[in-house]
């Protein structure tokens, strides 16, 4: 059976998923995902015209609460698990200057 997806597609999906994978991993995942997608192709047997998609298992309505402020977590608590911080901020590497094009530049003030 031809593979339903190529290594290049898996590379693209890995990029969208923000997962750095090496060539061996790409090869392995391509075959495993292909197996799974071939199985999932079962769903094509069904005629689903005019069937309403169901994203949620129970009949639900929107839930609202009173618009009142209440205490949240302190800055200290929020930062407690941060791998790198400079209170009251999280620290991250530079955002600009990479060539991936993945992060749009900030809107000028």
């Amino acid at each position: 059976m031809p593979l339903p997806l190529s290594e290049d597609e898996v590379r693209h999906v890995a990029k969208l998923s923000r997962l750095e994978l090496d060539d061996d991993e790409i090869r392995r995942f391509t075959h495993q995902l292909a197996d799974i997608l071939n199985y999932i192709a079962k769903l094509d047997e069904l005629n689903v015209d005019n069937i309403e998609p169901m994203a949620h298992p129970c009949d639900v309505t929107n839930v609202q609460r009173e618009d009142r402020t209440h205490a949240g977590m302190s800055v200290e608590q929020v930062l407690a698990n941060a791998p790198e911080k400079s209170p009251p901020f999280f620290k991250v590497p530079k955002v600009l200057g990479n060539d991936s094009g993945a992060c749009p530049p900030p809107v000028p003030a």
């Binding site: 890995a14 998923s17 995902l33 069937i51 169901m54 407690a80 698990n81 955002v95 990479n98």
Partner: protein, 487 residues
């Protein structure tokens, strides 16, 4: 009484009647964990000091409630503000939750003592507890076999009497399948019956927390405590909570049980088929009417589930970015690099596979073919159940079927073939897609292997009370509860 070889009900009563101190109970369980956990790897952390301190408060009368002094284990995807909350993933290896999951908070408010946190497949993704970053859990009935998953640590802990009961979570069968493989009771409540606040999200429209116990009565006691509305989870229903314990032994008039043709295939192990037949005979003897039913879309359950669950997972797990909490790669050059490396280093293979499958199913050009189609088939699956349970069309009160196709498989048997592992959920995932409650019950031991067998009962939305009553009928008549492995 031996505090570690009993039921939650008897243990609770003994402590309440001052026949046993909570301190003695907790000490006995901690000793047993000390003795057997190396062999099983059911717990990956215990809270001995905190547990003993709370036990002393129970004995002093300052902690009271329907679970006062009872040692309970919780799956380590439930947040606790003490100890670590890891999901058994490298990415959360050092994570300390600032808050407590509602289900756990309710247990503690009822006087329970959280004795430790149990092993799971990383982020609850798996059916064997072999995907944990902290090593696999072993089945107490035979350590060469898997305990099932993803709540395998919790079911192994209860089966081996390392805790009087446990909480698990069930996204596609992760309470019921390991309960079946370990010979204990596992209940997945209706979606929305128990708050998911503080349950680390895997697939938000499928995840549900539930009890793992030795008996149906114990499951009713725990559900009574953890069920109910919670403002912190907008999908948690305000449907009133029934008196599960009070209804349990009430007789049921004109009980109808459905046997789905699609679940009774030749693919099932003969011992499983025999267990279902025996259960059907038991219900007939107890006056129930057994009817054949059709759930024609059953065969599409796994394909649908693995699109819906992975799509939701790919979105939920986007939060692990190495910035706010969790593992952060040391050698990232820029922000995108930080995300990609932290996630590659922090997640295991199964989690990566599912994130990619879900990302693919949601990606431009494939959304309609995979995700949207799966959501439509999901409705067809739910409509199968609606028709089976439709009272105005002579529908049944519950469905009797296998939990799994076979008893516990061996370690390593399915780890190289993700699709084979996924097919484990064939009889359980449809209940999550439809949001209905299901329970797995011990059905004796397989004569050939000595491993536990199980049956499953499914019921309509919010029919937990009726489901537990029906389960109790089987449990009383079959006499399989109380079987224990030799460690």
């Amino acid at each position: 009484m031996n505090p570690t070889e009993t039921t939650l009900l008897d243990l609770r009563n003994a402590i309440a009647d001052r026949k046993l101190s909570a301190n003695n109970a907790v000490t006995a369980y901690l000793d047993r964990i000390q003795k057997h956990n190396d062999k099983l790897n059911a717990f990956h952390q215990t809270f001995a000091d905190r547990a003993l301190d709370r036990a002393d408060q129970v004995d002093a009368g300052s902690i009271t409630g329907p679970l006062a002094g009872v040692p309970i284990a919780i799956k380590d995807n439930l947040c606790t503000p003490y100890g670590l909350t890891t999901c058994c993933s490298r990415i959360l290896e050092q994570f300390r939750s600032p808050y407590m999951a509602t289900a756990t908070a309710k247990l503690e408010a009822a006087g329970a003592i959280i004795i430790g946190k149990t092993n799971l497949d990383e982020f609850a993704m798996g059916s064997s507890t072999e995907n944990s970053a902290f090593g696999p859990t072993h089945n107490p009935w035979n350590v060469d076999h898997v305990p099932g998953g993803s709540s395998g640590g919790s079911t192994a802990a209860v089966a081996a009497d390392l805790a009087a009961a446990a909480l698990g979570s069930d996204t596609g069968g992760s309470i019921r399948q390991p309960a079946a493989l370990c010979g204990v009771v596992g209940l997945k409540p209706t979606y929305g019956r128990v708050s998911r606040w503080g349950l680390i999200a895997f697939a938000s429209s499928l995840d549900q927390i539930g009890p793992i116990t030795h008996t149906v009565t114990d499951a009713a006691i725990l559900l009574q405590v953890i069920a109910g509305h919670d403002q912190l989870d907008s999908t948690c229903t305000d449907e009133p909570v029934n008196d599960y314990c009070g209804q349990l032994d009430k007789p049921i008039e004109s009980l109808r049980i459905g046997l789905p043709n699609q679940y009774l295939s030749d693919a099932n192990d003969p011992a499983i088929t025999a267990a279902i037949q025996q259960a059907a005979d038991i219900y007939r003897e107890q006056g129930a009417e057994l009817v054949e039913i059709d759930l024609p879309h059953t065969q599409y359950g796994i394909a649908t589930y693995y699109i819906v669950a992975t799509a939701e997972a790919s979105s939920n797990l986007a939060r692990y970015d190495g910035v706010r909490y969790g593992h952060r790669s040391c050698d990232a050059h820029d922000l995108t690099d930080l995300y990609s490396r932290s996630r590659a280093e922090g997640f295991g293979d199964e989690v990566k596979r599912r994130i990619m499958l879900g990302t693919y199913a949601l990606s431009s050009g494939y959304y309609d073919a995979y995700y949207l189609r799966a959501l439509k088939v999901r409705r067809l699956i739910k409509q199968d159940f609606d028709a089976a349970f439709n009272k105005s069309a002579n529908g049944c009160d519950a469905i009797l079927c296998p939990t799994t196709t076979s008893p516990a498989f061996k370690h390593g048997e399915k780890t190289d073939n993700p699709l084979q592992m996924y097919l484990n959920d064939v009889y359980t995932a449809t209940a999550n897609l439809a949001g209905i409650p299901g329970i797995s019950l011990p059905a004796g031991l397989d004569q050939r292997t000595g491993l536990p067998l199980a049956i499953q009962l499914l019921a309509p939305h919010f029919a937990e009370s009726r489901l537990l009553q029906i389960a109790r009928i089987y449990e009383k008549a079959a006499g399989y509860c109380g079987l224990r492995p030799t460690l």
